[in-house]
């Protein structure tokens, strides 16, 4: 008996390989949006690598954090590469997350039987927000300091115990070295481990029910004599090689950003990250990174603080309900033009909110802020009504695929 057989007899891996790769049948008609999932896996791995490397040089204290970050940039060999990978990587992860979620919305992937895949995915998105926020505070730049102050002060609005919770979160009355200590612990252990665990759960739940596809129809309804879906192909080797070429294109883009536009016009690396924390020099227009600013715009669109927080909470949480707000039994918006148009307006509006959320708090931005909030909320309120009555074309019986 060879070593391979000896191990195979005792290992769960061959079965897992078959179940999730070699005999996992995926629809053959995936389009470009379907790369985002595997690219996210790649990026999380690279984020771990670059994070591991910068962690080896970073000093988590109020006195040294800022200088240690620039020690990495200036003095560590290829330190700038580690740093830019980590900074630009976090923004690019959110680019992919938004593409991945938009894909799910366009093709109705959140609908039965994939509700839990959607919900676990959305929890991942929220946890990524937390992970990014904790990471943001660590360099102890002035942006770190004020972003940390503003975001933790939201906790004060929790009824009765708000002040107490805020002090626990900060490790004192204000942002300090104690805050860095606990945010660092959260950033590199607890929240990170949650991300890894939930990614595994996300994929396991997906593989239980199978992938959706751009036509939104069930490939399991047409099977061959072996019980394999006629429109499905084994994930390995077909999608492993396809995703591999996706990796190539994406790594090219990622490297182009790092090597030629590492601050990405100061969208990925904001200017106020380049000045040390200063409790006396408040940033009048402390704005969150671009990927959180739509929600910040909604927070600001209501002049009353608690009202703003409630709207923001609603905006952040309501996508959990997508599977039930959408009443149309047909999944893909390829056959539901009205929902598709609503989605396009929703996405454009999300850009508008992201842009306005980055602007200083001036009266002239009230109007776009409020308009954006109304469109955002309006989308979710209209969705159940529209999807009940919208004109819907009949999807084809088999997925459409053009060999090329």
């Amino acid at each position: 008996m060879g070593l391979k057989e000896w191990v195979d007899k005792r290992s769960p891996l061959p079965d897992m390989w078959r179940e999730h790769m070699a005999e996992y049948y995926a629809p053959k008609n995936f389009n470009i949006f379907y790369y985002a999932g595997s690219l996210l896996l790649l990026m999380v791995a690279l984020q771990f690598l670059s994070g591991f490397l910068v962690l080896a040089h970073y000093v988590p204290s109020a006195e040294d954090a800022y200088n240690s970050v620039f020690g990495i940039m200036y003095d560590v060999k290829y330190g700038w590469l580690m740093q830019y990978m980590h900074v630009d990587g976090s923004s690019l992860i959110f680019v992919l997350l938004y593409v991945h979620m938009a894909r799910g919305m366009i093709y109705g992937s959140y609908k039965a039987p994939r509700e839990l895949v959607w919900i676990i995915g959305y929890i991942l998105y929220l946890i990524f927000m937390a992970e990014a926020f904790f990471g943001y505070v660590l360099p102890y730049s002035n942006l770190s300091y004020w972003a940390g102050t503003v975001i933790t002060s939201l906790l004060k609005s929790i009824p009765f115990i708000g002040n107490w919770v805020t002090i626990i979160a900060r490790g004192g009355p204000g942002i300090s070295g104690d805050t860095i200590g606990r945010f660092m612990a959260l950033h590199v252990t607890l929240v990170f481990i949650l991300i890894i665990g939930l990614i595994a759960v996300h994929i396991l739940y997906l593989h239980k029910v199978g992938s959706n596809n751009p036509d939104g129809i069930d490939i399991k309804e047409n099977k061959d004599s072996n019980g394999h879906p006629l429109d499905g192909i084994p994930f390995h080797p077909y999608y492993t090689v396809k995703d591999l070429s996706g990796f190539g294109v994406w790594l090219f883009i990622f490297a182009a950003v790092i090597f030629y536009a590492p601050t990405f016009h100061h969208i990925f690396l904001e200017r106020t990250m380049s000045t040390p924390a200063n409790a006396l020099k408040s940033l009048p227009d402390v704005t969150p990174p671009w990927y959180l600013s739509p929600f910040y715009a909604m927070l600001r669109s209501i002049p009353n603080k608690n009202g703003g927080i409630l709207l923001m909470l609603f905006a952040v949480l309501v996508p959990f309900l997508m599977p039930w707000l959408d009443r149309n039994p047909v999944r893909s918006t390829r056959f539901r033009p009205v929902t598709r148009i609503m989605l396009i307006i929703f996405f454009l509006n999300f850009f508008l909110l992201a842009w306005v959320g980055e602007q200083p708090p001036l009266p002239k931005y009230f109007f776009p802020e409020r308009l954006g909030s109304v469109i955002y909320v309006g989308f979710f309120l209209l969705l159940p009504i529209v999807t009940m009555f919208e004109p819907t074309r009949k999807p084809p019986a088999r997925v459409r695929y053009r060999a090329h």
């Binding site: 990796f247 190539g248 090219f252 030629y260 033009p337 454009l348 508008l352 776009p368 060999a403």
Partner: protein
């Protein structure tokens, strides 16, 4: 019909953004320095910086050796034009000789470190700032600035660029032509831009190789995909 609606929403969305953006901004308009960002400009700026700025300002993250290793300046030149007379190792950081507590006493505020100033404020800001000093007898230093009102720093470049009134009248000519002076200010800006991210040299050196490698990888991966997918009908 569907296409029309999509285009309509796009246009409406863009129009809305434009409308808001078109409103007047209150901040002073910044001028843009024009130059080629290369070793020659940066080294010229480094020399001017050492002569006029480093009396007070440090660029503490920057090391002398970046000038030799990354920009190809000779050690002798660094010694002659950049280093303080007191000398320092080439591995040492470019720190001003002025003690911080003395500086605070003289100017009211310590002169900030300029390592990250370009990242923080932008090169347009620094360029405009250096060209926006005017004489103001109400200020302790006798100077003020259009971009940075009530600045504590005096116009150290006035002997070169001239002394100006608040309204922009030349009070005392400098010993450089305005064109030459602007070029010199531009050089200083280029140096500060380099200081804020010296990795630019290595990034642009390695970049083509890394991108080429990934492009090559993509080609092979794509051919592999083609080969496997031949039988998917």
């Amino acid at each position: 019909m569907k296409k029309l609606l999509v285009i309509g929403t796009l246009v409406a969305g863009l129009g809305m953004g434009g409308m808001v953006a078109a409103e007047a901004e209150t901040a002073p308009v910044l001028m843009k320095p024009k130059y080629t960002y290369d070793a020659k400009t940066i080294i010229a700026g480094a020399k001017l910086f050492a002569m006029h700025c480093m009396v007070c300002h440090s660029v503490q993250f920057m090391r002398y050796e970046f000038l030799t290793k990354d920009l190809g300046m000779s050690k002798a030149d660094v010694h002659k034009y950049i280093m303080l007379p007191t000398g320092a190792g080439y591995k040492a950081n470019m720190v001003s000789a002025m003690p911080v507590n003395m500086a605070s006493k003289w100017f009211g505020r310590p002169p900030p470190d300029l390592s990250q100033m370009e990242r923080y404020k932008s090169q347009d800001w620094i360029y405009t700032y250096l060209l926006s000093f005017y004489q103001d007898s109400k200020r302790p230093s006798g100077w003020n600035n259009h971009v940075f009102p009530n600045v504590a720093m005096p116009d150290v470049l006035a002997p070169m660029g001239g002394t100006w009134s608040e309204k922009g009248k030349l009070l005392k000519a400098g010993n450089e032509s305005q064109q030459k002076f602007r070029k010199q200010v531009t050089d200083i800006v280029a140096f500060l831009r380099f200081v804020s991210d010296p990795s630019v040299i290595q990034r642009h050196e390695d970049g083509p190789w890394v991108l080429g490698l990934f492009a090559l990888f993509t080609v092979f991966a794509y051919l592999l995909k083609k080969a496997y997918w031949k039988d998917v009908k």
